[in-house]
Symmetry: C2
Subunit: 204 residues, 2 copies
């Protein structure tokens, strides 16, 4: 108010509401998310979100879409900083996967919940955005696994193996302050992945 003119128009309220929602989730879990709380956190009246989202499920979808974008960014960032060799790339992608799960635990879990939009359906464009963003995330992992696909067609693709392993690790062991499992200290995922003994079919 003093340092910044109070505009009637917020400027980018939609973005502010999504950001507020991400923060609320991280602080209080998925149940802490409500339109009213997001509005309050964005410094706006509780009726304002109605101009940007078609109800709570629409905001949730936008938050999840944003989650997938950050998820993809986390994996890409890790890959960019790694050696170009397939093994190093896959390692990095997994590290980015885990990093995101650790730094955005609540949203990460929420992204993989079957969102109980019972009967309540998203509008087509929101649904498409969501599908696009989630597929983009998955595609990153998929691409990183491709060099390890065997041609001996045993029926189980590398990506199913790796995805299950990294996702299980993320779900079980990536609570914010977690360093202990029931059976002792949690190893880094970079120690776990080599156990799959993946072999690239690309000749060096």
């Amino acid at each position: 108010m003093t340092e910044q003119k109070r505009h009637h128009h917020h400027g980018n309220l939609r973005e502010a509401l999504i950001t507020a929602g991400l923060e609320l989730m991280e602080q209080g879990g998925p149940d802490a998310l409500s339109l009213r709380k997001c509005a309050k956190r964005a410094g706006v009246s509780h009726a304002a979100p109605a101009h940007h989202f078609n109800g709570l499920v629409s905001l949730q979808a936008a938050i999840i879409a944003r989650g997938y974008q950050k998820f993809s960014a986390s994996m890409r960032r890790a890959a960019d900083q790694a050696d170009a060799a397939p093994q190093a790339q896959l390692n990095a992608i997994c590290a980015g996967y885990i990093d995101f799960a650790r730094s955005h635990t609540a949203v990460f879990k929420f992204m993989f919940q079957p969102h109980n939009n019972d009967s309540q359906t998203l509008d087509a464009t929101t649904q498409e955005e969501l599908d696009r963003d989630s597929m983009a995330s998955y595609q990153i992992l998929r691409d990183a696994c491709a060099p390890f696909e065997h041609n001996d067609a045993q029926g189980v693709s590398t990506e199913i193996m790796v995805w299950s392993l990294v996702h299980g690790y993320a779900m079980l062991f990536c609570a914010p302050g977690k360093t202990e499992s029931p059976s002792g200290p949690i190893p880094e995922f970079s120690q776990i992945l080599p156990k799959l003994k993946l072999k690239t079919n690309i000749t060096p």
Copy 2:
């Protein structure tokens, strides 16, 4: 009312409320759980649960405890029907793990959520029951992994590997009607586990 005398005392309302809660969760997800709905489903006034549970979080804890009991039972049942060889036993335990995730998807996911009991703490006995039941479930998997622990101490235990793999598979692919992943049909877990090429250190 006609075929059964209407008792003032329910008989076993606590159990009935837990069962009702499990059903509500499976049908509508974790958000569908409320004390009032459980009471209604158990055929009792909405104030009755207060005599058996110290608020909603207490009922949730009881539901999760019940979930772990069923989870353990599912794994044990599968193990009992399998060959005694370590490989067959571990296979069966994993199958029981997956079976439970498929048949109790909502409760399964709820069990592994960090329950946002922010500041709100369970009474000691409920917390102990919960810890005991969850540890019992984990111990089953742990025992099944024990014959495969290597002595070469590479720092990553078999149980961390197997647990991550089976849990990730369960979380990603065990929605009730799910048979497709983004990359095609989902293989059975029994096809996946052998890829770990676990070796028992017990001589036959």
